[in-house]
Point group: none
Chain length 268, copies 2
DNA sequence: CGTGATATTGCATGTTTGTGCTTGTTGATT
DNA sequence: AATCAACAAGCACAAACATGCAATATCACG
């Protein structure tokens, strides 16, 4: 039987609780679930899916809508919640970015709000290892389960809110990662990746060099711009994740440099 | 239980204890177990498997579901609970603790909710340097101005939510601090300071050894108790900060060991 | 060597849980 | 208003389950 669901454990024979966990996970990474899709994915009737959604909704873990469900509406802890609450566009960007992640990979995640959104959207069931210099990202992931976290230490730069500098670079050079998510201050199809701070740039470069592939996820304001310090050439970037409304010409320019361009979904 | 004939561990002829260990391993590696599969694998009836799962679940080592079992859900809200407790008694404790801090000092702050409260209560105007293994504390301080932060990296322990282990210990040994705030699981006037986790204890010890003076701030439930692993003797503790309603006899016991005892103010 | 206590297992028993199906009902869309 | 998809509630069936019981094995101790 041809299995359409790639990269996932045999979802077709999962127990109800496990199924519900998967649904919650999909809710986190995709922002919504559709009953019919889940039904096909798990190979159970839509009734069972609806029962699952009903239970989850009863526990306040999701919000049922006609056709499926949405993530539970966040209500409490204004201060802390605001930090994890990312705007629609950034959230869509993150959700597209996490589709590049495969099971069991080691991820190198730089600091920055976009990357914090990506970390929040990561699936718990992939057995991921995350190497990060950002206390914020480390904290986000350590409050969830299923992540192996390696925190990069060193002097915390006040503006960036993460460890940069010699010690952090050294620690990064001691590890290997599959995928790298360097925060980008600016990226240009011809001139590559740029940063504002000289030490920050050294760290990003170390991250990229310690990783197999590099994924750059940026909001539109960083496209086609440059900054003061160069991080890497465009050849070092394999994937670019952009917002849905980025012009075709811009996407083509990156594609011409062998960068796979991924467009996020339009925001609701 | 001494079992004479334990030559080769064959799945088909395993004692219940062995079998349960096997099940736990599979749970860890596969993320789930199915009763029918285990039954076939060990060549016992599903009833026996169910009995095993029942016992394991009773010990909190797994979560039974219809058809098999899933890994035990780690206690999901230790951090969120503790974060809310920043009000009231813990806040008063923290306010008293920070009165021991002098301008320009280097502080070594361990992870833990009490220490997070202490970090929150630190003055911005003292030109302090804070060394911490806690992403949470690093983040609290990096969102404010006037702090020099040195983040201790390493593998993040999920239960503690901070870096412990060899790498963290090594990094700590490379710095010197004036004041150390080790998180305490238990403290006793005669037996000293105690922790729950062996690796955690090594880190606390390294912190204390790297610091001039040690301040232990504890809520009343940790006084006069001991835990599994010893961190340090009471001689290594110079200051103890306790809540306002701790009995005179307890305070005197610590004072007799040359520990300066500080009482927090009564909560409003 | 025998015997009773304990432990473990498989089986038979009713019970519970999950599932798909059917029947109406509600909701969204034209 | 009309139409169809999604939904809730109830039903029936099968699989998984708890419980009690008997058979067997193991071990301690007389």
């Amino acid at each position: 039987m041809a299995k359409p669901n790639v990269g996932k454990v045999n979802a077709s024979e999962a127990m109800p609780q496990e199924r519900q966990q998967w649904i919650l996970d999909r809710l986190r990474s995709h922002g919504r679930v559709i009953a019919a899709e889940l039904s096909a994915e798990f190979d159970v009737s839509e009734d069972s899916i609806r029962r699952d959604l009903r239970e989850l909704a009863a526990q306040g873990l999701c919000k049922r809508v006609y056709g499926g469900a949405l993530p539970a509406p966040a209500i409490s802890t204004p201060l802390k919640q605001r930090r994890q609450e990312h705007t629609g566009r950034k959230l869509a960007l993150a959700r597209k970015a996490v589709t590049l992640v495969r099971q069991g990979q080691v991820l190198m995640i730089d600091s920055g709000s976009t990357n914090a959104a990506i970390a929040s959207a990561l699936s718990e069931h992939f057995g991921l290892t995350v190497v990060t210099n950002s206390p914020e990202i480390a904290q986000i992931l350590s409050e969830r389960e299923g992540f192996e976290i390696l925190l990069i230490g060193g002097r915390i730069n006040a503006r960036i809110g993460a460890a940069i500098g010699a010690q952090a670079v050294q620690e990064i050079q001691r590890v290997r990662a599959d995928l790298c998510f360097p925060g980008a201050c600016a990226i240009d199809a011809d001139d590559g990746l740029w940063g504002f701070d000289s030490e920050e740039v050294l760290l990003k470069r170390a991250m990229i060099e310690a990783s197999g592939e590099t994924v750059v996820a940026v909001t539109h304001d960083k496209l086609g711009a440059t900054a003061m310090h160069r991080v890497a050439g465009i050849d070092d970037v394999q994937h670019l994740v952009v917002e849905h409304d980025v012009e075709q010409a811009v996407r083509a320019a990156f594609a011409a440099h062998n960068v796979t361009v991924h467009r996020a979904d339009a925001v609701a």
